[in-house]
């Protein structure tokens, strides 16, 4: 079984450097430069996986990123295990361990293989038709589908590797370093354009670099030798950067492209430590030259998916580039000259070609003559009708094609083989071009879609533009480059070209068979197991749009996005439905062109770098004093300060009681602060708040509600008049940025005539709030020079003062209902002022409290929190805050919406208090509120928005929104929970100190 199929003289591998690797538990050897696929093939291993739906044995089919079958799991330890790696792309390294992915329990014995025999029961749309019904069964089906589909295993521990993002700006980006890409990069760079050339493979030169025979010559040298010299020159050009192992994943508008540069995946594991694994390149190019080449088409016939069946070009590449024979008895099956190039390569390497089956009847080219000279039997005008061999192809049946190619005639003939190369011509790789918004046109001559109109400053050249042969490339590329780069000359004028390739092709999308279509398994999408029969069934069932057929049959929906078979699907649809292929359109190719790792997408934005963390200047004190923290937007806020093993509830009860009984202290620095100046500042506030501001005296504070233009509350806070034309506005912590943005919007776009300037000063000032009956005494100790008498410094007023030599602003405002002072001080002095307050408050048992206690204290007073007790559907009237809506003001944002037919409805959800019958019972925030449990369906009247146990009232309190709640005072309602019903009574939302006596206590 482990035969060595290595032949001499390969371009890419270093036979002096042996590498061992493991595949499905067995150790094998390969050489440096091998891909996992080439190393497996050298060990005569074709069977690498099972197909998705029928679990048929599948082998390596291609030698590139279009590979549908050879998808493996890489095991580099538990944290680096990676699913969905294409064996054709991963370069082997010492220590590589890989296993087949889509099979269970093993690749050789796969339980799902029974699906193959059940396949008459698994037609197109099978999953839709069966597993979707009844809907409640989906959960049960899903387990089995997922297990047997086995899409690989993702690591369940964090990714230890380093990923980076990099921005690149260049004049010209060239995608693909085949012959045309090399010509383009050289021409652009030599004409002064700052150029970047990216290539997904590890080497430059594309397929021409191993087109090494006397049948393809440029200026009298073999094309490979000519190109090698070009590449050597290109590498020396200064303003040209070359990146290999770099694949462009997305081509967006305005020439913005994303590419993944692979830096370490080919290195031995121990050499990867502390290196960046992959980079996401964000490229903005003035001009883009796409030279992504083309992908060989398979041929569609019965059982065209067995291990040992490869694209003919892949067989050539494995022989030329890696020195690997895909078999010892090769048969080639073709509709064009490409297979003869493969045959000649194999002959040169001494690999046996058993026969060539050619769809074409009359053929003639130098390539074919050379093949015939080597006594290789060519079956002209024949097709393969069946193949044999379960885990490896062992023979093919062929029959003569009728003149019109619609059926087979004569008798069957068998040819034995261990490898079959198929060639259906070439499909331009237009994926990136179409991603960018480019429109395709259909070329009838050879049945290909090629670029037609470009949405940005870009061109496609070479075979992705439909120039498949050496002479077309060398003649057309210089012309295109001259026009695109606006230059008069290239180095590629008057070049002598010799190409033995004849362009004739006999295109038959679905090859005829001696069986009816329904009895054949002619695979169109190898990864998703969609057959020609499935596509025909979809058409019979009435699907016409290519996008619908795609989804119904799952053609082109695998990780390879149907790079091989999409054209055949289109061809079969057009033939069956008798519509013109060019008019059908194609399905949409979406980014990424090849899959990207999540690591590459997120780059360095992981863990603590995932988002910005904002900390107050007093943060360190909270940490030292063992605060638990809560995330509020990007801010870390002290949540509560547990003492002696308290849980949150216990800590909050203690803090809340202390704040009302003596003194509490809160770090309120996160509140948004906007400095407002200008001669029209008062007028501006009049327009953005619901209440009146013109008459606010200097030195006074006022609470305000801000509405959206639709009348709904979106933020609140206290604003203080510092001077005639100077205010400081506070916003909620979470709303700071949006409030500033919204105010700027109105100033710039609706009221540019107002003389108002807004500046965010949130980070410049820290806010320390001291509350409770002893707060006045504490503040007096901290700021001795200030007169705190109620007469001189009443509630809702402000004074400038000084602590030591530092100026500060003191506001007497309260969010707790207690007498309360807020010191606003330059941020870098905040921590020492906080410590001063703690020291001064020691004798009064000053108690630091966090956001949870703050929420509880304000709930006792029935103060709302915008965003918790409101969502975007609550007007001030709904909140029972009619008192804050000015009746006199001519206009303010949202005013007109307060009397729309919808906002004046009596049965809108309104804010109320809720008291549980059992005072110990605490409601769950978000719980539904109902009146009648017997009504069907049960009518939801509203929900609980805030709920706490009040240590000061010694009972459970809650706020909620209830339909028509304003008129339900005293009424009994029900909170239905999973296992019980909780009875509540509707009350006023203010639970404590309705007369506001405590403010001046």
């Amino acid at each position: 079984m482990t035969k060595n199929l290595r032949v001499k003289s390969s371009k890419l591998v270093d036979e002096t450097y042996r590498i061992s690797f493991k595949f499905n538990g067995t150790t094998y050897y390969g050489f440096k430069g091998d891909t996992l696929a080439s190393a497996l093939l050298a060990n005569n291993i074709h069977l690498v996986g099972r197909s998705f739906k029928y679990h048929r044995p599948r082998g390596i089919m291609t030698a590139g990123s279009e590979e549908p079958n050879a998808i493996v799991q890489l095991h580099n330890g538990t944290s680096r295990t990676e699913p969905n790696v294409r064996a054709t792309e991963i370069e082997i390294y010492e220590g590589l361990v890989a296993s087949s992915q889509n099979c269970w329990p093993s690749v050789k014995f796969d339980i799902g293989g029974i699906n193959n025999f059940l396949s008459p029961l698994l037609p197109a749309g099978f999953y839709y038709k069966t597993f979707m019904w009844p809907a409640s069964f989906w959960e049960k089906y899903e387990y089995f589908i997922r297990k047997s589909a086995g899409l690989g295993k993702s690591p369940d521990v964090p990714d230890p590797d380093i990923y980076e993002h990099k921005y690149i700006h260049c004049d010209v980006l060239v995608i693909g370093a085949g012959i045309s890409g090399i010509m383009a990069a050289k021409t652009a760079a030599k004409n002064g354009f700052k150029t970047l050339l990216v290539e997904e493979k590890s080497y430059l030169g594309g397929s021409t670099i191993y087109q090494d025979s006397e049948f393809f010559k440029i200026n009298n040298q073999n094309s490979a030798s000519w190109l090698e010299k070009e590449i050597n020159e290109v590498k020396k050009i200064e303003n040209l950067e070359i990146k290999t192992r770099t694949s462009v994943a997305a081509f967006h508008g305005y020439n913005f492209l994303l590419a993944r540069e692979n830096l370490t995946d080919h290195l031995p594991l121990e050499q990867r430590e502390n290196k960046t694994r992959q980079k996401l390149l964000k490229i903005r190019a003035k001009k883009v030259i796409t030279a992504t080449g083309s992908i060989e088409r398979p041929l569609i016939f019965d059982n065209n998916d067995r291990p040992g069946i490869l694209l003919s070009s892949a067989i050539k590449k494995y022989a030329d580039l890696f020195g690997v024979a895909c078999g010892e008895k090769n048969v080639l099956f073709t509709n064009n000259d490409s297979a003869y190039e493969t045959a000649i390569s194999l002959i040169q390497k001494g690999i046996k070609v058993q026969a060539i089956i050619d769809n074409r009847e009359e053929i003639d080219s130098k390539l074919i003559k050379e093949t015939e000279k080597n006594n290789i039997k060519i079956y002209k005008g024949y097709t393969i009708v069946d193949t044999f061999g379960y885990k490896r192809i062992n023979s093919v049946s062929i029959m003569k094609l009728s003149k019109d190619g619609q059926k087979v005639i004569g008798s069957k003939e068998n040819i034995s083989c261990d490898s079959l190369g198929i060639s259906g011509g070439w499909t331009p790789a237009v994926h990136l071009f179409t991603q960018s918004g480019g429109k395709l046109k259909f070329r009838d001559d050879d049945q290909v879609f090629i670029p037609n109109t470009y949405p940005s400053n870009q061109i496609s050249i070479g075979s992705c533009n439909g120039d498949f042969t050496l002479d077309e490339i060398l003649i057309n590329t210089p012309k295109l480059l001259k026009e695109f780069l606006n230059i008069t000359k290239t180095e590629y004028e008057n070049i002598e070209i010799f190409s033995a390739f004849n362009k004739s092709k006999r295109n038959i999308w679905l090859l005829p068979s001696n069986k009816i279509v329904g009895k054949t398994k002619s695979f169109v999408d190898f990864q998703n197991d969609a057959t020609a029969k499935d596509i025909k069934l979809a058409l019979r069932e009435g699907f016409r749009s290519i996008e619908h057929v795609k989804r119904y049959t799952t053609t082109g929906m695998g990780t390879d996005q149907g790079k091989l078979g999409n054209m055949h699907a289109l061809g079969i649809i057009s033939e069956t439905a008798s519509s013109k292929l060019g008019e059908l359109g194609t399905t949409t190719f979406r980014p990424p062109y090849t899959p990207l790792t999540f690591g590459t997408i997120v780059g360095r934005n992981v863990g603590k770098y995932f988002d910005i963390t904002r900390k107050t200047p007093i943060h360190e004190w909270h940490v030292e004093n063992k605060a638990e923290f809560e995330n509020v937007g990007q801010w870390k806020r002290a949540w509560y300060y547990p003492k002696n093993g308290e849980n949150m509830h216990q800590a909050v009860q203690r803090e809340s009681k202390a704040a009302r009984d003596s003194a509490g202290i809160l770090d309120a620095s996160t509140l948004g602060k906007i400095d407002i100046q200008g001669t029209d500042a008062s007028e501006f506030l009049n327009r953005v708040y619901t209440n009146a501001w013109s008459k606010l005296e200097i030195g006074k504070c006022r609470y305000g509600l801000m509405l959206n233009e639709d009348g709904m509350v979106y933020d609140d806070g206290v604003t203080t008049r510092l001077d005639e034309n100077h205010y400081i506005m506070t916003t909620t912590t979470g709303g700071a940025a949006t409030v500033l943005g919204k105010l700027e919007d109105y100033l710039q776009t609706e009221w540019p005539e107002l003389d108002v300037y807004l500046t965010s000063v949130t980070d410049h000032y820290a806010t320390i709030s001291v509350c409770g009956p002893n707060s006045k005494k504490i503040i007096q100790k901290v700021i001795p020079e200030i007169d705190l008498s109620d007469k001189d410094f009443p509630h809702m007023s402000f004074r400038n003062s000084i602590i030591g030599k530092v100026k500060c602003r003191v506001m007497r405002i309260s969010f707790t209902g207690e007498q309360s002072y807020e010191i606003n001080i330059q941020a870098n002095y905040a921590k020492s002022v906080w410590e001063n307050c703690m020291e001064a408050g020691k004798e009064f048992n000053i108690t630091p409290y966090g956001t949870e206690t703050m929420h509880l204290l304000r709930a006792e007073k029935g103060f709302i929190i915008a965003g918790q007790d409101t969502d975007a559907t609550m007007t001030p009237i709904d909140l029972q805050m009619d008192w804050i809506v000015s009746k006199k003001k001519f206009d303010f944002i949202g005013k007109r919406s307060l009397y729309r037919s919808d906002t004046i409805r009596e049965d809108r959800k309104q804010l109320v208090g809720l008291i549980t019958d059992n005072p110990e019972e605490i409601l769950e925030e978000g719980a539904q509120i109902v009146a009648d449990m017997n009504k069907t369906p049960i009518e939801m009247l509203g929900h609980v928005t805030s709920s706490y146990f009040s240590p000061n009232l010694k009972k459970s309190i809650a706020l909620g929104v209830v339909k028509g709640g304003k008129n339900m005072m005293g009424q009994k309602l029900i909170i239905p929970m999973e296992k019980k019903q909780i009875n509540v009574t509707v009350t006023d939302p203010v639970f404590l100190d309705k007369e506001n006596k405590r403010l001046n206590a």
């Binding site: 918004g437 949405p455 943005g741 700027e744 710039q748 609706e750 206009d891 037919s901």
Partner: protein, 91 residues
Amino acid sequence: MFLINCPFCGEREQSEFKAGGEAHIVRPKQPTELSDDQWAEYLFMRKNIKGIQFERWNHIHGCRKWFNMVRDTSNDEIKAVYKMGEKPPIK
């Protein structure tokens, strides 16, 4: 991703900007005089055009200025940018 020519800063990446909906919708001078229908027209009704569209944009991570843009939504071509208060350079 667009490359947007801010009228104040010049060409910048789209990620520096915030889109702000349809342009040239003027807030009524006397909202209280409007019927519910007229107010709803201002408040809710926005065009969603395939083709030439006039839009507001804000250079939120730059100069923070609002400006207008003419964009062809069918191919994302930005036809023009101009300052608030200026007349669109294209019909």
